[in-house]
Symmetry: C2
Subunit: 201 residues, 2 copies
């Protein structure tokens, strides 16, 4: 099969390595970069290199950071006695957007998934236990995803934290706000029923 | 709103400038690059810069090329007397994949689209007329897309080529091979009827 000129073909190949970018998308992105300004392409290439050289894991919570401690760990106004455990930095951001949480975080950088070969050694569980041991927080909120693997990860961590004097909590499971009961799945409705609370206004 | 650490936020912003990459996709791509190998990120950044520095338009047909003439224009075995006019290099590649065409091309680099402010000065129409004048081809195939804008572009070019002694043809419009008559749109069926040919096997 005929191919595009060397450098263009190579860019298309490299773009195809990215998640959910197929041959068609890769071609469209490459054409866009080729036709766009020199500045835009340079800025993107530079941003890619910068992120690799400048971003690391926060030494305390393993959130992405460009300094020793991330913005949240470095913020003295955050409640240091509450640690919210999330799988990924994107989950942390989702919680921050809600604006309801004022404690600190611990980013596991994944979840237990034996089928994918991800065990407790691949994610930051040991570091969490160590933090609980040394920081002695009042509460650890297990905010892993409400999936089989997320639940298994939470359950495993809860067991490890049993020896410590810390309250371990999980996020409420129930109907999403604005969701139609009619469209909620059976398991969510069952969990919403189990977790029902007294009417109050 | 809280943002990711500077370099990461910047990469997400740059990725979002790409076509059909939204905030969620940009975040996923950035995370992928951040977690992936140093090599992969460097290869992508390098490919982006290379494509800008090394790829130009073929001096004759305006296909993407890394040399003065593109691979097709530089190939003496191609029939020089037939020029196939396409909108984009991706259309050229689609024709090449069909393996049926052995002439040369002329890449317009777009199509007339007054609503988007794209006029005859923005695409390589004048260069095509000049080629017809100097190269004196036997045939010009107008292979613009079968859309309103593609048809208008073909029609405009056909008018410009009238003074020259050259056969101007267009691709056949009809049912796609493997397509179900039932699923074909009315306009395509009407055009297939108008263009019907004698049965032969």
């Amino acid at each position: 099969m005929l191919r595009y000129a060397g450098p263009l073909e190579r860019l298309i190949q490299e773009l195809q390595k990215l998640p959910s970018i197929g041959p068609k998308s890769a071609q469209r992105l490459a054409f866009h970069l080729l036709r766009g300004g020199e500045e835009e392409a340079r800025a993107l290439a530079d941003a890619i290199l910068r992120v690799k050289s400048d971003i690391r894991a926060c030494a305390r919570c393993f959130n992405f950071s460009d300094e020793e401690l991330c913005g949240i760990c470095g913020d003295a106004r955050r409640e240091q006695g509450t640690i919210c455990v999330v799988e990924d930095p994107s989950d942390l951001m989702a919680l921050e957007r809600a604006g309801e949480y004022h404690g600190v975080y611990h980013v596991l950088q994944g979840r237990l998934s034996p089928l994918d070969g991800i065990t407790e050694d691949d994610i930051r569980i040991a570091e969490l236990v160590k933090r609980v041991e040394t920081e002695r927080p009042k509460e650890v909120i297990l905010a892993t995803s409400p999936t089989v693997e997320g639940d298994a990860t939470a359950s495993y961590i809860a067991t490890l934290l049993e020896p410590y004097e810390v309250e371990v909590t999980v996020l409420a499971i129930g109907l999403p706000v604005g969701g139609d009961l009619d469209y909620a799945d059976q398991v969510t409705i069952a969990r919403a029923l189990q977790g029902r609370t007294k009417w109050r206004r």
